[in-house]
Amino acid sequence: MTDAAKIPAHRWLVIPKHRHLKWPALDPLEAALMVGCGICMSGFTACVFFDVVTRELRMPWLWLQQFTTGFFAWGVFIGMAAATRRLDHIYLAEITRHMKGTRRLVIETLNRLVVLAVALVMVWFGTRIAIVDMGQFRMPSLIPMTAYTAAVPFAGALVALFAIEQLVNGWRNGFEGPEDNEYMGEAPE
């Protein structure tokens, strides 16, 4: 058995599911987002660790808290984008999985259009906020607020891209897939 075969599918950099809804060209982007999640989680852990250590040594690095918040917030929004491509978000129901044909096409399309609309709002208004935030700074590090709030339009753009990818491929290949028979989402296999 290869190493890759031993790793459960949900932990792969590019999840091997719903391939009929995806362009292989965007796989490196999904992998990069997963690496981004890892960097944010490690950076965030390291920042809290050094925050405690420097505080205990009575030489606190106050700017560490701002980096912690930055890693945390970017991690949330990068993860939001990655989860959109991996169809890994929290769902209330999966009624479409039991549907076929036109009805499924209509509802799946509606769902993606809602996600796309929300993502475009995040891009447009998030960018406006990020531009305004260029003139505001977090003390004591003097990091511009834009460094934090830019995560919103960044995630919005990626979510929009993945929603379009799923729409186009869903229309081309159909939304039905081999994963319809299993419970999808937040649970590890």
């Binding site: 790793i7 949900h10 932990r11 950099l13 997963m34 690496v35 999640c37 890892g38 960097i39 989680m41 490690s42 965030f44 852990t45 809290v48 660790f49 925050d51 405690v52 808290q65 912690t68 918040t69 945390f72 917030a73 991690g75 949330v76 990068i78 993860g79 939001m80 989860a83 991996r86 978000h89 929290i90 769902y91 209330l92 129901a93 999966e94 009624i95 509802i107 799946e108 509606l110 769902n111 809602v114 996600v115 609309a117 929300v118 993502a119 709002v121 995040m122 208004f125 998030g126 406006r128 906020i129 934090y148 709030t149 995560a151 919103v152 299993e182 419970y183 937040e186 649970a187 590890p188």
Partner: protein, 446 residues
């Protein structure tokens, strides 16, 4: 459009889109944006709220409690705790069912995630239960029910979210959650003993076996002490305690017990990075929902309606909120539910002069119950899938177990002094006590 109509539009479109299959975070934002379009509020404010909703120091604890659970699970260290549970209760009637519950209580002290608990048990104990002839529906129902304890016994992610959004002491909520967590655990064990399948009766473990199992699981069992010890002594905040526990696993536990796992650590970090984003993107969206709900004076309206019915009677107010949260928990994920309804809960807590920690413990217990109730019983859904049984069958088998949860919730409502005993004893400030100006000790208002 009136405020009431806008609230109905916002909540209704969220539920409709959510049940059509739009991810929770996007369904919430879509509902909020739709209602906002009929008000003078700008979309900039709503989008800004997405960031500000997660810009809270206390929420930083969530990734660590998930990381701790992920590291323990993926490094397979949890096997040692299962062995200890087997040595302690494996000889009882329904031995493996008792092991499931006891392990969940142990694991709850390490991880704040029910999903991780279900994953571990479904992978390890469920196949054994299958071999011993346990009904699969019962196995799925029991694993799901026991996994909810992870949300009660500290560290609990629900308690962190509740504390962070409601400005309630997280340490107090952690300590208060121990009582319902243990009560549910005992209730499930008693049910399994008298009414569950018999399983294969095994001899009682010898003292040598018990000692060996305890020694084997000693290193993982230090984690709850690190977390609660750090918080109670004031050495760490909940976030820092989570980080110290994660570092302990990385630096001591994995090298000592599972050194080969070290090369897989980058993957653990990547996966946890993704997993923590899921509830927190719902938090970001729900905070925009809560903000809009407050703008539309939703809390005042609901609080007014409850006041008209219950007056200022704390017990009646709590019971009405329990009913509300049982219904909400059936349809909505716990994390957004806490944030969306927090303004209402705060208003009613004040109205009934209820201790915020007491209210928090009761509502978190109620939402934990929501994890096994249909249609959105997340733990039961995951458990049924892993064990390989239809959700409907697992749900029917879990119905008798509801008594344990309802009994525990009612106990917590009617006996606040028991729920608040540990917070008052170990963290008096968390329940409104203050240092006596005339000498040692604390003065606690009634």
């Amino acid at each position: 459009m009136s405020n009431g109509a806008l609230i109905v539009l916002m909540g209704g479109s969220f539920l409709l889109l959510g049940y059509l299959g739009v991810p929770v975070a996007f369904a919430i934002i879509a509902g909020v944006l739709l209602a906002t379009a009929f008000t003078p509020v700008s979309f900039d404010s709503i989008v800004g709220q997405l960031f500000h909703g997660i810009d809270a120091e206390t929420l930083l604890a969530i990734p660590f409690f998930l990381l701790v659970g992920e590291l323990m699970t993926s490094a397979d260290v949890t096997q040692r705790m299962i062995r200890l549970a087997q040595a302690m209760v494996g000889h009882l009637r329904g031995g493996l069912a008792q092991v499931v519950t006891l392990f969940s209580m142990f694991f709850a002290g390490i991880s704040g995630s029910s999903a991780a608990d279900v994953a571990v048990l479904a992978r390890t104990v469920a196949p054994e239960m299958d071999k011993e002839g346990y009904d699969r529906s019962f196995t799925a129902a029991l694993i799901a029910s026991a996994s909810t304890i992870a949300n009660l016994i500290p560290p609990s992610i629900m308690a962190v979210v509740y504390g962070a959004t409601g400005n309630v002491s997280i340490g107090g909520l952690f300590l208060g959650g121990i009582v319902p967590g243990v009560l549910i655990g005992i209730g499930l064990m008693v049910y399994s003993y008298f009414f569950g399948p018999v399983g294969k009766l095994k001899p009682r473990a010898t003292y040598t076996e018990l000692f060996s199992a305890a020694r084997g699981s000693a290193l993982p069992m230090v984690i709850p002490l690190i977390i609660m010890g750090g918080i109670l002594t004031g050495a760490f905040t909940p976030t820092e305690a989570g980080m110290v526990a994660a570092v302990y696993i990385l630096v001591i536990l994995i090298p000592a017990l599972r050194p080969t796992h070290i090369r897989d650590l980058p993957r653990d970090f990547m996966y946890t990075g993704l997993v923590y984003a899921l509830p927190l993107s719902a938090v970001a969206a729900a905070s925009a929902f809560g903000w809009m709900l407050a703008y539309l004076r939703g809390p005042d309206t609901v609080a007014g309606a409850i006041k008209a019915f219950a007056g200022t009677d704390p017990v009646l107010i709590m019971l009405l909120l329990v009913v509300l949260f049982i219904i909400v928990g059936d349809f909505v994920d716990a994390v957004p539910a806490i944030i969306i309804f927090m303004p209402i809960v705060n208003a009613l807590t004040e109205l009934g002069d209820i201790k915020p920690v007491h209210m928090g413990v009761v509502l978190v217990t109620t939402l934990a119950f929501g994890l096994i109730t249909p249609p959105y019983g997340l733990s039961l859904l995951i458990s049924a899938k892993f064990v390989g049984v239809p959700f409907g069958k697992a749900m029917v088998r879990s119905l008798p177990l509801y008594v344990v949860f309802l009994g525990t919730i009612l106990f917590c409502v009617f006996f606040p002094e028991v729920v608040l005993f540990l917070p008052k004893w170990l963290l008096p400030e968390s329940v409104g006590c203050f240092k006596s100006p005339t000498g040692p000790g604390y003065i606690c208002p009634p």
